[in-house]
Symmetry: C2
Subunit: 271 residues, 2 copies
């Protein structure tokens, strides 16, 4: 079993895994709030790929190269965001080339895309930086601001600006091969998680093929908990949801089932 | 020079570094948006500690233990968020104990805190889980919901809920020893970064002790760029800011200096 696989995956074959590298000092300093992780995590899950690790690393060449070489061997897919613009601190393309031992050259197709985008004579040296890729890389289309991302083997290199990253992610999705998507059901209860902890552990023990998470929240003074069931198998999910609902009713609690009415166990209302 | 140190730090002595481990499937799946990274990154910087890596990892024991053992040796400080509640999927305390080869026991002080907090007879087995620490751990006070975090050597274990994490971070700050805080100045220009790229690279070359970052943004159709100067040395920062401002004026651009009026170069207005 892969150390990052969820319950039940050992007997169903290994999950397809991915790692995201968020590259940029501005994320680490707290100046910029990352908005790409959640988009990529959800998008990959829809394709049956599990985002099982994320690293945020600084704009330091040795760190980026070493991290790339570690994670591209440890995960099926690696995605990077950030560091592919026209300025001196955009060093991701250089680092990917170093990690793979490839020369970094101006990609003719990327150059043609930029030449068609800018007015005649305005494809400056700085802008031409954005046409550089490791030799042999496949481009990732960027319908928003044109300068493309690129792929080398299992590593997909994208921009950091969320609108551009999202457009690139949509462009590259067709080239990913996933397994079964992880499905989930969520029930919300208006009580702290310690009230349901013992019963929840019993439901987990009875349904080892379903991953059960408990996520407390505190909104405007109301303490509550979301209980989330996850599995690639619809049948196991339904059984665990019924068992969880019965456990809650046994505690005198009517949980509210979220994520669409089709998710409530038979005979129970959903949000 | 540490691979994660910024420019200029080699000759001033090594920077004090930190790594944050965000533990939780719900962050990786995109269900929950992390709000702790930015708070911790900024808080550490104020203390002269550089957050130089963040990893988001799943609720899987082997992954948490291995990652803890890697990063606690590679960074001066390690902070963790998530996985210290009362339910079966809260396994961070168990993992920290395993990583350090320590027994996990009910901490008498933590037990006393919880016993004083809950009504008589309501310190259930599930709640008592939150009093377990690796033997010899120092507690981190939690004024919000009482169940404490804890510290073992250079590893600080905190809750995932932002309000609780922030209270714990404020409680533990006094025990951290940092270096010089990284100071920054920011100028905003309403143009894409490719217009300033060449001039910016020249300013960077002329001020190797200052780290210069360029962060494009696109708000309501306006393309702009924030140029950020960072250094522990106030004098070098002021010189680089003056050089950057002169470069922009040479391009016919009056940048707007942000982060307080004291940051604008002499004779120039700030936001």
């Amino acid at each position: 079993m892969s150390p990052t696989a969820g319950p039940g995956e050992a007997r169903r074959g290994r999950a397809v895994t991915a790692c995201l590298l968020i590259i940029g000092n501005e994320i680490l300093s707290g100046r910029t709030q990352d908005k790409n992780l959640a988009y990529i995590g959800q998008g990959l899950n829809d394709l049956g790929i599990r985002l099982t690790e994320v690293r945020v690393i600084p704009d330091v060449e040795a760190v980026i190269v070493d991290t790339l070489n570690e994670v591209r061997r440890g995960f099926d897919y690696v995605f990077t965001t950030g560091g592919i613009g026209p300025t001196h601190d955009d060093i991701t393309a250089d680092c990917v080339a170093k990690a793979f031992g490839l020369p970094l050259t101006v990609n003719p197709r990327a150059r043609a895309i930029l030449a068609a985008h800018y007015p005649a004579g305005e494809l400056t040296e700085a802008r031409l930086r954005m046409a550089r890729t490791p030799e042999g890389a496949t481009l990732i289309e960027n319908p928003v601001s044109k300068a493309p991302g690129f792929r080398v083997e299992n590593v997909f290199v994208m921009a950091g600006i969320p609108a551009v990253m999202q457009a690139m992610f949509e462009s590259l999705k067709h080239s990913l091969v996933g397994g079964k998507p992880l499905r989930s059901r969520t029930v919300k209860v208006e009580m702290g998680e310690s009230f349901v902890a013992a019963g929840l552990a019993a439901v987990q023990d009875g349904h080892p093929g379903v991953e059960i998470g408990s996520y407390p929240f505190n909104r405007e003074g109301v303490f509550g908990t979301r209980l989330v069931l996850r599995s690639t198998e619809e049948g196991e999910l339904a059984q665990a949801a019924a068992a969880l609902d019965a456990m809650l009713l046994g505690l005198g609690v009517e949980g509210v089932w979220e994520e669409g009415p089709e998710n409530a166990p038979p005979g129970r209302q959903s949000a």
